[in-house]
């Protein structure tokens, strides 16, 4: 049992405690809720500004500034942009790339972490560190070599190149997180399964996987959202308009010297929707408690 310091209660206070503590807890929880809600509202203020300006006409925005209430509900800019840039196609490209990367990176992370965290492979500290290198390298130093390699194998200007690159980059984080978590995996479970004659693969599927599902869900969400917002590598690797992703498409609202702020905001708000949806769908697995009997 890990170190749990218990606090000896003063026996004389005990009979009174339930009543008093219930009242205290009752009030306290509302105060706590209020503080957290206020914090959340503060976090959302910038989004409020985005909403305020996303549907303003350009002349309204320019004449009255970014703080004013819109004088009308203007959707022309967004509609034009939507059609010019073929936004639905960009959204699809983003979903395809981010979704594939999320699933593939989680799989690879799990495999790596199994070997490192549970299998305790020799030199695993260095291996984890090596994998983390993927996160440490600034992206601009990756660009030229990856460009040349992609050109060689004919993957330049394809979504597959972006998928492969981000699977590797995201799985570095996944490997580190999962290996750390699996490093503290209860040995008793593993030994019991091994004694029952289970092989490594079976243990992975039947014992390890069910227990790290919340962590996997977190990774899935993170990988999807991080890949969704990636701008630089897709900008370099995806040339044809029909393979480009949403962040790259948003950049077309920003020229050399001029930019279209209201439409950029509207476009960004819309591009938030798939990412947020993904978050809401998969975070339900985060709120389910662990299956009882994990340690037993």
């Amino acid at each position: 049992m890990s170190a749990v310091t218990t606090v000896p209660a003063a026996p004389t206070v005990q009979p009174v405690k339930p009543v008093r503590s219930r009242h205290r807890r009752g009030a306290a929880r509302w105060v706590v809720l209020a503080v957290v809600v206020l914090g959340a509202l503060a976090m959302l203020i910038p989004f409020g500004f985005m909403l305020l300006n996303a549907f303003k006409s350009p002349s309204d925005y320019s004449s009255n500034g970014s703080l004013s209430w819109p004088t009308g509900f203007y959707t022309e800019g967004l509609k034009n942009y939507w059609n010019t840039v073929n936004f639905p196609l960009k959204v699809w490209n983003s979903i395809l790339i981010s979704g594939t990367v999320a699933v593939a990176a989680v799989l690879i992370s799990l495999l790596n972490a199994y070997a490192l965290g549970i299998g305790r492979v020799r030199g695993r500290l260095w291996i984890v560190g090596a994998f983390l290198l993927a996160n440490m390298l600034p992206q601009e130093s990756l660009i030229y070599p990856l460009y040349y390699m992609a050109k060689q194998v004919g993957l330049y200007n394809s979504r597959l190149s972006v998928i492969i690159i981000f699977t590797v980059i995201q799985s570095a984080f996944g490997t580190y997180l999962l290996a750390s978590v699996l490093g503290t995996f209860p040995k008793a479970l593993l030994e019991a399964a091994a004694l029952d004659g289970a092989g490594k693969w079976t243990i992975l599927r039947r014992v390890v996987y069910p227990n790290v599902r919340p962590t996997l869900a977190v990774l899935l969400i993170f990988f999807f959202i991080w890949t969704w917002n990636e701008f630089f590598i897709p900008l370099v690797m995806l040339i044809d308009n029909n393979v480009q992703t949403v962040p790259v498409a948003l950049a077309s609202l920003q020229g050399d010297r001029l930019m279209d702020a209201p439409t950029t905001n509207a476009g960004a708000l819309i591009s938030l929707i798939p990412a947020v949806l993904f978050f809401l769908i998969f975070q339900r697995t985060l709120t389910r408690g662990i299956t009882a009997g994990a340690v037993k």
Binding site: K151, N242, Q254
Partner: protein, 438 residues
Amino acid sequence: MRVYRKLIATTAVLAAVTLGLAACGSDSGGDETSQASGAKTLKLWHYEGPDSAMAIAWTKAIEIFKTEHPGVTVNFEQKQFEQIQKNAGMILNSDQGPDVMEYNKGNATAGLLSSQGLLTDLTADATKRGWDKKLSPSLQTTAKYDERGVMGSGKWYGVPNYGEYVTVYYNKDLFDKYKLAVPTTLDEFTKVMDTFVAKGVTPLGMSGAEYPAGQLYYELALSKADRSFVDNYQLYKAPVDFKADPLKYAADTFSAWVKKGYVSKESSSLKAEDMGVKFISGKVPMIVSGSWWYGRFQADAKFNWDSFLFPGNKLNAGSSGNIWVVPKNSKAKDLAADFIDITMRPEIQNLIGNNGGVPVAADAAQITDPKNKKLIEDFNTVNSGDGLAFYPDWPVPGYYDVLVSGFQGLINGSKTPEQVLAAISKPYQEGVDEIKNS
């Protein structure tokens, strides 16, 4: 249940991936199975917004091209400026590039690519089709690059359709309110600004975080400069002394203007967009910036406004607009040249002129809107007087950030003019030395 949901989700994703990969295979590499002559497709890129004068004119040019070349498909894609700016070298070095595209003029962009052999030499077409007659010599500076990639001489690598220059936009209503006339000399200009300051209005909008500060500095320098200065500064003909006029004058005057309140100290963190919005919302009566704002003001400004040349200057920041280039790997070079030729025709040029742009070869009589006409006439005045002096950040790659950093210090008062000049002269000298020694 959870397992099933995950399974279904995973299967769905895998199925989508398979379909996606199949699609990937077919769309990566737009293969053109055509030769240079007898080519059947023209892949054309530009990055001007769809409402801009250039885009309107070029859309018409594409239409005309299609009628004159039946059987040729025009594959037009609107790109992002940032993508082309950063990756042009990489794109043109592959087989995924276009047949003809808009590209930035200047040594660091077109010059660099041409010196690496990534652009087609257009000299033959230029003489044959008469582009060299339609463009004034000073506009041709940004069309020609030598073997080192320095503009001004050498072979033709690009063709501009439009021009740009820095001018002063002013709010007529505010001028009328304070009974001010358009200034024609620098002294009158400062008097106008004094009047505004006395009334509690900041006369000049500014943006310290982007290009406008550097352009004001340059305009001030040009008020005391001659053509040989521009040649030295931009074309490295002779060394430039940052401790002497005109650059010293420019920094000192800029600083004086900040102290007198002509330029707000709080503009050091503003972006160009913020400055433009301030003008459109009527908060500042004047801004010194480029012809590229015209279309935006035309659409969004709800008051009377117009422009005048920087008072007293014969030289002004400005150049040709972006240029059409034909990548070396283009598979439709003749078609590309045909398209470029169409864009130089009067009807296309007039379209640029009538939609808020500044054409290089238009018939002034055909321009209908009076403000637009003035914009173009002012440009022609500067151009015909060989007054286009390019931009202050052009000489050395990365100099843009140096200027921004230097002049932010001047605006918020953390640097003296001497310090700013010292800070911006070192990178300039180093950069020029590198270019000369390479």
